[in-house]
Amino acid sequence: MDFDDTPQEAAFRKECYDWLSENARLKSASGENSRNRSNMSDDELVARAKEWQAKKAAAGYAQITWPKEWGGRGGTPIESVIYSQEEAKFSVPGGVFEIGLGMCVPTVMTYADAETSKRFVGPALRGEEIWCQLFSEPAAGSDVAGIRTKAEKDGDDWIINGQKVWTSGAQFSDFGIIVTRTDPNVPKHKGLTMFWLDMKSPGVEVRPIKQMSGDSGFNEVFFTDVRVKDSQRLGEVGQGWKSAITTLMNERLAVGGGAGAGDFGELLALARSTEMEEGAAIAQSSVREKIADWYVESQGLKLNRFRTITALSKGTAPGPEASIGKIVSAPKMQDLAAFAMDMEDMGGIITDREIAPLNGGFQAQWFGAAGYRIAGGTDEILRNIVAERVLGLPQDVRVDKEAAFNELPKGK
């Protein structure tokens, strides 16, 4: 048992680090968050992200596990992990290409013909084109197969009408993959079809959603008589659920991360510098117990990632322990931030970066965590997944599996 790289892994790690050192700046000791968009405009973020992606692609670090003929490195999953670990030490722009390269383009590669794949893979890899994923709808969140956006056949084309929601990056995306309902007269999983489309097509309208924090990370996307060709179909007509599963299998890998700015270490630092009504915060057993509890959760997740990495290093499939990450980290983010704000007492309401400890990081995390507990699978859906896929418990009794979609009960 050890935490060491194999000689090959160590050599690859050094190679990555050396290349990153020449091409990027190490994060400062204060632990800046390079994904923090709040101090950067979309245009600036996209421009920086495109430049960085192009550099990575030229050096062969863009998609390490993809085959070389697709512009990847033909590398192993452990090499991909090692590159990510090293890149995390540097201040590089993120949040623009993850969804496209992690979810959309692999789906295109799975279902489109060779010519189409060739058209899209290179530009996406080099950071020339950005992709978004158009699945969720106002009435189809956790139950994503319940989507209502219609695609109707018109000669050799399809006409799309409806609305998508929670679409990250739609405002700067060039292309998207969309799941539509092509047959409402069959059970809901059987009437879906997936397409790729140009986000600049006539009839596509992107509107930012203002979140409760005041930020806008997502969009609503409206489709009014948007025309796509049948050749843009990804998978068979009526097989859109299968295509969507291909995409979603990659989602939790692409969403991942998101530990927030404040963890047990930041809470400990805050406790050391804060007076509470009862005295110094760090001297309170109620505070000390919480720091220990969150250390146990954070460190436990980190140690389980080491187990996952061990499996990858041995060339085997990781165990299901990786599935617990967001179940633990999302509520912890929220609870820890709320606890830190309590420690700040009456001043805990302040969001002014100049005044609030950690530049207002606990307040920002308190807002962000409310969304993180929902994004990419709610706490509840993730527990269902663990119970059904890991423990083998039966699915809930379903009223929507056999009935035609247009006969299912729906809310207002």
Binding site: M1, Y295, L303, P394
Partner: protein
């Protein structure tokens, strides 16, 4: 990165599991629960015959001289089977203390007997219903004679020798504490079995009235020696807790699949699914910490105090939750004497208190974090 047990260690784990499936069935545990027998003597002898009692004892003293990692996988399986044997007292604590701090003579006297199963050791620390520390410990060693009382002492009623945390100084600081080694057949030792929440593990009230005893290790270093032994035992007991958590989760899952209510399997209801998913989450968090503790223990890492405390806190929480929610999943039948759910409910609380309650270990975590970030 190789944060896993080796193939040989996994093979050993399978062997132990097979052995226990035969020698430590639920009905064997129940026999100890329902009788006055303090432990399962046949199972204990079986473990001795396989050499497991001497896993970490050097070959020079009759042990196998294997490492802590091997003992960890054995501990996990014993915890899963809820084995009614004095392994933690004799191996994780008493012989560990002798092996670390004992003189050559003391090692020769007891280690070969522990390894063969001929002698059982125990670790006498607590003194009544409070946390043992330099202020509360009043058992003394003076002129080679022990005086005082220890309660509760795991396996104190069946042990042949005891490592005793005693006061040798006149103050109430940690430097006033030492370890003593005493042969429990001495005429100055009185002991009686005390009733506890878990009769599958025997406990005693031991009174020393001038019993002959020797120092174990240096005078005045008893507190730090105790912490060393506690950290070691915390990791090993965390593996027992891990096994118990796994067993509780499996038992709950089987029941959730078999039991029908309102026309369907209760495992199809989200209230049950989410409960079991939460058990799994706590189990896996604990497993990560247990592995870290095993690594720190086996490599003699300075990170051991933090790793051991993390393992203890995570595994105590996982087992507490899994054992109690296993009963809840079973409903009324899980609360009956006939149900085996009680084995794990009892054992989870016993192990959760055995080396001191979780609160004290959380405090150790924070102290370690403070030291680490002192700069």
């Amino acid at each position: 990165m190789n944060f896993d047990f080796s193939d040989d260690q996994k093979l050993l784990k399978d062997q132990v599991a097979k052995f226990l499936a035969d020698k430590c069935k639920p009905e064997d545990v129940r026999k100890i629960l329902e009788s006055d027998a303090p432990y399962d003597k046949a199972l204990w002898q079986g473990l001795a015959d396989l050499g497991f009692l001497g896993t970490t004892i050097p070959e020079a003293y009759g042990g196998l001289g294997l490492g802590y990692l091997e003992l960890c996988v054995i501990a996990e399986e014993l915890g899963r089977a809820c084995a009614p044997v004095p392994l933690s007292s004799s191996v994780y604590l008493a012989s560990e203390a002798i092996n670390r701090f004992g003189s050559e003579e003391q090692k020769q006297a007891w280690l070969p007997k522990v390894a063969s199963g001929e002698a059982i050791g125990c670790f006498a620390f607590a003194e009544g219903v409070q946390a043992p520390n330099a202020r509360t410990i009043s058992t003394t060693l003076s002129g080679g004679k022990l005086s005082g009382a220890k309660l509760p002492v795991a396996d104190g009623d069946v042990a042949d020798f005891a490592v005793v945390v005693v006061k040798t100084g006149s103050g109430t600081s940690e430097g006033d504490l030492s370890l003593a080694l005493v042969d429990l057949s001495d005429a100055g030792v009185m002991r009686e079995t005390v009733s506890t929440i878990d009769p599958t593990r025997s406990h005693a009230n031991i009174t020393f009235d001038g019993a002959a005893a020797d120092l174990l290790g240096k005078e005045g270093e008893g507190w730090s020696a105790t912490q060393d032994v506690m950290n070691c035992a915390a990791v090993l007991i965390a593996f027992e807790q891990l096994g118990g958590t796994q067993a509780s989760l499996e038992m709950a899952k089987e029941y959730a699949l078999d039991r029908y209510a309102f026309g369907r399997q209760i495992g199809s209801y989200q209230a049950i699914k989410h409960k079991l998913a939460d058990m799994y989450v706590k189990l896996e968090l604990a497993r990560g910490h247990c592995y870290y503790g095993a690594w720190a223990l086996s490599t003699g890492s300075p990170e051991l105090p933090l790793a051991a405390a993390g393992a203890r806190v995570a595994a105590t929480e996982a087992f507490r939750f899994a054992a109690q929610e296993n009963i809840q999943t079973h409903g009324g039948i899980g609360y009956t004497w006939e149900a085996n759910t009680q084995f794990y409910y009892r054992r989870s609380k016993l192990l959760g208190l055995a080396l001191g309650a979780a609160g004290g270990w959380k405090e150790r975590i924070v102290r370690q974090l403070e030291q680490r970030n002192a700069a």
